[in-house]
């Protein structure tokens, strides 16, 4: 018998708490597989955020820190400075990274910290129940924007990858999505390339992953996938924004 698919060693055998249809599970698997394929799982130290992926420390099969809200890049900096030979990554959502943790992510990139960040953007605060995020689209409804996000009141959603790509210390920036098998394959490729940038000591790397939140968007999982494609991708275009050879 040929095994064509199995659970990655990169994840523990713990059942996750994610909602049905949520794409965090896919992204976890991609990160776990990438670590295994690059042979870094045994020297990996991850940092989990506050938000939906707050329990990520139970799911990744490596040493983990649980950080305060938004502070994962600072925590990762402390770890990496102590263990420069280890593989250090953060896994953060859009409330964590793009709102409360904006200073920490910008300065980790600015210092060119040799860490890798997986940034899961689902355009909403999931864990706290569907409040507006800096990434929430104009017109998109949230519990704290009941009439939909108003540009006049809250501005337009922030494009993190484009912003970080302007920073010299950021050497790898790519935006991917996990709404189709083809996009999932591209996402994994980007994650592996991003991790290699750290392993080669080149600088800071980030992969922004467009993700769904059927629960708080009030949709079925297929509807959410379609909504992502129709609404998020046009505003947050997919593709690589920066590679080390282009960074100089």
């Amino acid at each position: 018998m040929t095994i064509v698919f199995e659970r990655t060693r990169g994840l523990t055998d713990v059942e996750t708490h994610y909602c049905p249809g949520c794409t965090h599970g896919i992204i976890h698997r991609l990160v776990g597989e990438a670590m295994v394929e690059l042979g870094v799982l045994e020297k990996a130290i991850g940092v989990a955020p506050v938000g939906c992926s707050v329990f990520a420390y139970n799911y990744f099969n490596c040493d983990m820190h649980e950080a305060a809200h938004g502070r994962a890049p600072a925590v990762a900096t402390g770890i990496k400075r102590v263990h420069p030979d280890k593989f250090v990554f953060t896994y953060q959502g859009d409330g964590d990274l793009a709102s409360i943790g904006m200073a920490e992510i910008v300065h980790a990139a600015h210092r060119g910290e040799r860490i890798s960040t997986i940034f899961v953007n689902n355009a909403i605060y999931g864990m706290t129940g569907g409040q507006m995020a800096p990434t929430t689209l104009v017109g998109q409804k949230a519990t704290t924007a009941p009439g939909g996000r108003s540009e006049e009141h809250c501005g337009r959603p922030i494009r993190i990858s484009e912003m970080l790509a302007t920073i010299h210390g950021a050497k790898f920036v790519e935006r991917v999505a996990v709404n189709t098998p083809a996009n999932i394959r591209k996402a994994k490729k980007a994650i592996i390339e991003c991790f290699k940038v750290q392993l080669e000591g080149k600088g800071f790397g980030i992969v922004e992953v467009l993700s769904t939140c059927p629960t708080n968007w009030g949709m079925t999982a297929p509807e959410a996938m379609k909504w992502l494609e129709d609404n998020m991708i046009p505003y947050y275009p997919l593709g690589n924004l920066k590679r080390p050879e282009e960074a100089e």
Binding site: Y57, H65, A67, A68, R71, V75, G78, H83, K86, E104
Partner: protein, 353 residues
Amino acid sequence: MAKVLMKGNEAIGAAAIQAGCRYFFGYPITPQSELPEYMARELPKVGGVFLQAESEIAAINMVYGAAGAGARVMTSSSSPGISLKQEGISYLAGAELPCLIVNIMRGGPGLGSIQPSQTDYFQATRGGGNGDYRLVVYAPANIQEMVDLIIEGFDVADQYRNPVMILGDGMIGQMMEPVEFKTPKKRELPEKDWATTGTGGKRKPNIINSLYIAPEDLEAHNIRLQAKYQKIREKEVKVESYKIEDADVVISAYGTTSRIAKTAIAKLEKEGYKVGLIRPITLWPYPYDEFKKINPNCKGILTVEMNAGQMVDDVKIAVEGKFPVHFYGRMGGMVPTPEAIIEKVKKICGGEI
């Protein structure tokens, strides 16, 4: 080793390096900036890392990362910056990570001033961050003692897996005194087998965490923390006292203020007054028991601080209503004079207050 003349802020750095601290994460703020400057200069020479963070918040979270990764690590700031660090301090306490935090206090509230103050006593001893946690808080009165406490403080932090705070004021940070770097008594320290160093494929993942979502788990965690704090109360109290068994008035003061009190006591003795001193060296755990040794006919306790009387609560707890507790203090960066303390002591002796 011979005595060297050192500025307080620099002596802190030298002591930390001698104690094996190799990581410092900080952010500039007066009156403690000489310390990060010293570390930026000296840590690379011993293979360590100094990093200026983008904020005090980032600095304390870098400490959280480095401490969890198993390193001897420290940060420093002054009052408003320490306020910003409170979130991280609570997480460090919750995740039981050892580290050293230095607060060179200045006047408050808010931006306050940059002059010496003891206005963060409540914040240091009562919490400051969220949750039922405690820091071991040392209040050195001179630079030699500060150096000794820093070296011991790192060991205490490691022994109990708990953050330790050095509470100084702008005066002790800025002044110069002779210091001798003695080889400290080594404590038996547990292995840091909980640290995140990568599993190496040889063990289960280590997790640094303060989140316990099930109430019964979080309660059990808290019970364990409280048991640890009780052990610290039993073992780690430090206090200096002077002639309290025979005193008509006992002054209670800590840090640099205690030195001003000593100058006042020396003058009062020359005039025939019997004045004792209780100087808490640990503000937490507080030396409550020391107050039981006070002369039962003592006319009163005078607490002297550079704040509005924050330690008075602890002194009142300690004396259990047996003596009246008076207070003399200056605020906003003003420093009490020996003459003002003398006047107050004379009034207590004369039954005027």
